[in-house]
């Protein structure tokens, strides 16, 4: 009896030891300092992409996908209207610069605020619905935003898109950064994305993040524990909208134009694909999904005009055989 218990204890010890050996120090460390690891990764990213403008797109869409993942992966609600927040962030930042000559450091928070306001309203209306109805309500409301912006030609440029979001240089503490230089622009935007990533990680680690996952896993039980289901969901939707809005505002500064396509429902669909591709409900998965999606699209486009066929086929393959997504599958495999 005692020898058996001893043997069991030894087994446990041995497996514990094995796990330590198999899971190298670096991976463990990355798991503990995910924000720092992500930033280090993003610092070398522009050397791995074919050109810098694509790397900046990856930063921006990565942030967008991460923001979207808060409501999709962590709260378990499929929103089909996130283009509204990305687009409003872009227009909210672009219009003050292009039409009223505001400096970028005023316009950027303005864009985030406009997206946040829209998220607060749309979220307040949409969280009453579940599942497919939630998706439909968010889609319908985001289409309203699309048509308002489309028709308001004097302010938004309508069909032609907004032009003239010229941020040629930014001054920080006497230091002038030339934003026309692609590498400078990349690192300037990376600083903002890094702060956002840190904030996002803090939100996930907070009690609020825990409650969000509890609601996703068992709504009734969370309600029985005394948590405010609607309030939590609404707040998650709002935060998700704010992150998407920040991504949109950065997009406007990056391209110096805001196409009406940013508000198109295709832009809502693309972020679902990115999150699924990378791994919903993981911290860095959606970012990786955005990276893989944009990189693949870019490389395949150079080879053939039928790029959609190949990206689509890959997407179906991944969904069928790696439903956890790329990053999700990798984490799952490493844990075993």
């Amino acid at each position: 009896m005692s020898s058996k218990a001893e043997r069991n204890a030894l087994d446990v010890d041995r497996t514990g030891e094995q796990r330590q050996v198999r899971m190298p120090a670096l991976i463990d460390l990355i798991a503990r300092h995910r924000v720092l690891a992500a930033i280090v990764f993003l610092m070398v990213l522009p050397w791995a992409t074919p050109y810098e403008a694509l790397a900046i797109n990856i930063l921006i869409f990565g942030l967008y996908a991460i923001g979207f993942n808060l409501i999709f992966g962590y709260a378990g609600m499929l929103s089909f209207g996130h283009a509204a927040f990305f687009g409003l962030g872009a227009y909210g930042c672009g219009i003050p610069i292009a039409k009223f000559g505001f400096p970028w450091f005023v316009a950027l928070p303005l864009g985030v605020a406009v997206a946040g306001l829209a998220a607060a309203i749309i979220g307040w209306l949409a969280i009453r619905a579940r599942g497919i109805y939630f998706a439909m309500v968010t889609l319908a409301l985001s289409q309203i935003v699309y048509y308002v912006v489309f028709q308001w030609v004097s302010l938004t440029g309508g069909e032609d898109g907004l032009r003239g979001v010229a941020v040629n240089s930014i001054d920080i503490f006497g230091l002038r950064l030339n934003m026309l230089d692609p590498m400078t622009k990349y690192y300037a935007i990376l600083v903002i994305v890094a702060v956002a990533l840190w904030l996002f990680s803090r939100i996930l680690n907070s009690p609020f993040g825990g409650v969000l996952e509890a609601i996703r896993e068992n709504e009734k039980r969370a309600a029985a524990c005394g948590y405010d289901i609607k309030g939590t969901r609404w707040l998650a939707f709002l935060l998700s909208g704010l992150f998407s809005g920040l991504a949109g505002a950065l997009y406007a500064m990056h391209l110096s134009v805001v196409p009406i396509e940013t508000l198109h429902y295709f832009n809502s669909a693309i972020v679902v694909m990115m999150a699924l591709l990378g791994g919903m409900g993981t911290f860095f998965g959606p970012f990786l999904g955005a990276l893989v999606y944009l990189l693949l699209e870019d490389i395949i486009t150079v080879i053939t005009v039928h790029w959609q066929l190949f990206v689509g086929a890959l997407f179906v393959f991944l969904i069928l055989f790696f439903p956890r997504g790329i990053w999700g599958s990798l984490l799952h495999w490493m844990k075993q």
Binding site: A25, L29, Y51, L180
Partner: protein, 421 residues
């Protein structure tokens, strides 16, 4: 608060190590030889970036633009280039998306170091390329219709517009159609910038003839079924129906107009009657339809330059002929390279000065860029689709019924566009 699940003494890397490494890496990146700047070289090949919607609904027009653009580059190189400097065309798929086009333009300028840009089908795409290019001091010659690009708010000294604009296109068609076919006019318009700008051009031209607008109907882009629109138009009893739409919408309106017997009741006219859509739709459906165009291959009977383009095209593409939008691709590149040749370099300011003053015959007779908005002043053709019996060969599709020999009076004035005079 980050929790440490394991003992720090276990020999694992600590956060401090990691931070140190991270900061070290950051410093290395910041201080290192940074990266190779691809400055635009004043020697070596002349690179021309060409974003075009190779995938998407305008792909057939875009692919023909690329074919013709390549011909312009080939002919320039065969003639010895710019004192031995050869030209090179860098094609990118814009996917008909202004965001993608802006990203690709950044790639072309920043990574490939292009000297000039051309291309960009659709109004929003060309405006977005124009914004990115002019911010970085790269000359862009646009080859797609737009009125906005001429206006002071979008124009910069780096902006050139080789394509016709809606004001001149609709103006020429209107000035031909209204006196010849009647003054009671109905509009069927695709509900986007192209359609609205064209209608504005027709109404402007119509003032001279006191036209009466009896019906105005808008349809969404990509409409398949027009059956609800035609009875309203028929009830209004117009002499002329003007359909301001593009691409496949054009073909669908014509086919269904035939079914409704519209053609027997009124004259149908398009601001731009596309070669590619006429090929797809057949002679019978298009018989008698009138429209404007920048180019028709039979111009070669009067213009040596048109023959040069057609011959090069025939030789490379199984005896085919360039389409109207395809020919823009040729003319756009031709204008840029001619400018470089006259300036004797690829330096932007020099080329701009040369392009502002040069008179050039790219593909259909003499043209020039108006100084205030860099709009190409050019002839506009009014064409009518031939009946089947009169056709003399595979590509014989149209009769040129009228040619508006270009003059600045066809354009909006510089003051009207907001330019300083």
């Amino acid at each position: 608060m980050t929790t440490y699940r394991f003992d720090k003494k276990s020999g694992r890397l600590t956060r401090r190590d990691f931070m140190g490494a991270g900061i070290g890496a950051a410093a290395a990146i910041a201080a290192g030889p940074v990266y190779l700047r691809h400055a635009r070289a004043q020697d070596g090949p002349i690179k021309i970036g060409f974003p075009a919607p190779l995938s998407g609904p305008y792909s057939s027009e875009a692919q023909d633009q690329v074919r013709c653009a390549q011909i312009a580059v080939d002919l320039f190189n065969e003639a010895g280039g710019l004192d031995g400097r050869m030209a090179e065309l860098l094609v990118r798929d814009s996917k008909l998306d202004p965001g993608e086009a802006a990203t690709r333009t950044l790639e072309l300028i920043e990574s490939d170091g292009v000297h000039f840009l051309c291309g960009g089908l659709s109004a929003s795409v060309q405006l977005s390329i124009n914004q990115v290019a002019s911010q970085r001091g790269v000359i862009y010659n646009s080859i797609s219709q737009s009125d906005s690009i001429n206006e002071a708010s979008d124009f910069t000294k780096y902006t050139f517009h080789e394509a016709m604009n809606p004001t001149m296109t609709a103006g020429s068609v209107g000035r031909y159609v209204f006196p010849n076919h009647g003054k009671r006019v109905a509009f069927l318009t695709a509900d986007y910038a192209y359609g609205h700008e064209m209608v504005r051009g027709f109404k402007r031209a119509g003032e001279e003839f006191d036209i009466e607008v009896v019906a105005e109907v808008s349809h969404p882009l990509g409409q398949a079924d027009f059956s609800t629109f035609f009875p309203r138009i028929q009830a209004a009893g117009p002499d002329v129906l003007i359909c301001s739409n593009f691409g496949r919408d054009q073909l669908n309106t014509i086919k269904q107009a035939n079914d409704f017997g519209i053609k027997q009741q009124m004259q149908i006219a398009y601001p731009v009657l596309l070669f590619t859509q006429r090929v797809a739709g057949g002679a019978q459906a298009f018989e008698g339809i009138i429209g404007g165009t920048n180019y028709y291959w039979r111009l070669e009977e009067d213009h040596e330059s048109a023959k040069r383009l057609n011959d090069a095209y025939r030789e490379r593409h199984d005896g085919g002929v360039p389409s109207d939008y395809g020919a823009y691709g040729y003319a756009g590149i031709y204008g840029l390279l001619e400018g470089a040749k006259q300036a004797g370099s690829t330096d932007a300011d020099g080329v701009i000065a040369a392009m502002e003053t040069m008179r050039y015959d790219a593909y259909k007779g003499e043209q020039n860029f108006r100084k205030c908005d860099h709009q190409a002043v050019q002839s506009v053709l009014v064409i009518q689709s031939k009946p089947e019996a009169e056709i003399e060969g595979e590509y014989d599709l149209f009769n040129v019924v009228h040619t508006d020999n270009g003059g600045e009076e066809m354009l909006r004035s510089c003051e009207e566009l907001g330019h300083e005079t």
